[in-house]
Symmetry: C2
Subunit: 157 residues, 2 copies
DNA sequence: ATTGATCATAAAGATTCTTGACGGTCAAGT
DNA sequence: ACTTGACCGTCAAGAATCTTTATGATCAAT
């Protein structure tokens, strides 16, 4: 497993650095917002549009009980709203009201600014390449996540 | 704030996707190892060599009490070792013993494999570019983290 | 109308994190 | 040598989150 292309090894090493760095930044952002890590994850999910509580749980890897408490917290600080679904009266749709977006974006913009600065020396072509690399990387993460989910040899001690 | 270069906006958008994806993968990996998220963060930190408990706390954003409990957990499952420092008898050095590395690497290798697959179509030059992009990205995250740390306008509600 | 599944919620128990207090150790100054 | 102040790691108590389990409401299918 270590007789690999050294360039690929460099790449995986770099990806490890990304994991660690992202982990810490997200932690910091959550603290800035005064919310929990899972809450921030939920907000990230809701950026793609309103979601039902059960869907949030599926995507965030949380049980239904946790989601209820989580939405309670976010609702309490006014970051999200709860609405009953019109098509399924069991379901609850959670969304980020327009007035809350500035609060969320303000934090990510801090990181966004650092990103822009780091890449500002790149020419347009370089920016497009970087964007594509990051998208490919994110897709690979999702890929790996699904694979791990399936293999499910829990703990495996 | 939205009158930006559209290419830069694309980049920040892609980075948001990376945050979300990494967050979920790390969560999954931690669950696979049967450890907590913070424990995995600690392991990531210890990959750079043995660290004192206080240093772990600083880097992981944890209080000293949390670090004690955290190292207890990791030690209990045999992933790390505690040794007293020879230069400062107050200090405790924590390290990953050689025999534990396979356990940690095995999990990241799952992700690593997905990464390699996603980028395997790239030529050598492309791989180097991707590696550099990821490293720049990680650096930008650290950068942003430090900046947020300083600005410290907590919660800011 | 009935059955079984799904949805969101609530309560109880387990686990983690923070806070504050403690004893041991170090370094600097007297 | 001794004292002072700071740092280090640990411990115990309290707050907060997550999971599990149980419950009522709603849906879809028979």
């Amino acid at each position: 497993m270590n007789e690999q292309d050294p360039l690929l090894e460099e790449l995986t090493q770099a990806s490890r650095e990304v994991y660690a760095a992202v982990d810490l930044v997200e932690d910091q952002i959550a603290k800035m917002l005064g919310i929990h890590r899972s809450d921030l994850r939920c907000l990230n999910i809701l950026e793609n549009g309103p979601q039902s509580a059960s869907e949030i749980g599926r995507r965030a890897n949380l049980t239904s009980g946790s989601v209820t408490a989580l939405v309670d917290r976010l609702e309490r600080v006014g970051l999200v709203e709860r609405h009953r679904s019109s098509t399924d009266r069991r379901s609850v749709l959670v969304n980020i009201p327009d007035r809350s977006y500035p609060r969320v974006d303000a934090l990510y913009s801090q990181v966004g600014r650092a990103i822009k600065e780091s890449f500002q020396s790149a020419d347009p072509a370089g920016l497009q390449v970087a964007t594509e690399v990051l998208r490919t990387f994110a897709a690979a993460c999702h890929n790996a996540q699904n694979r791990i989910e399936e293999s499910k040899t829990p703990t495996d001690q």
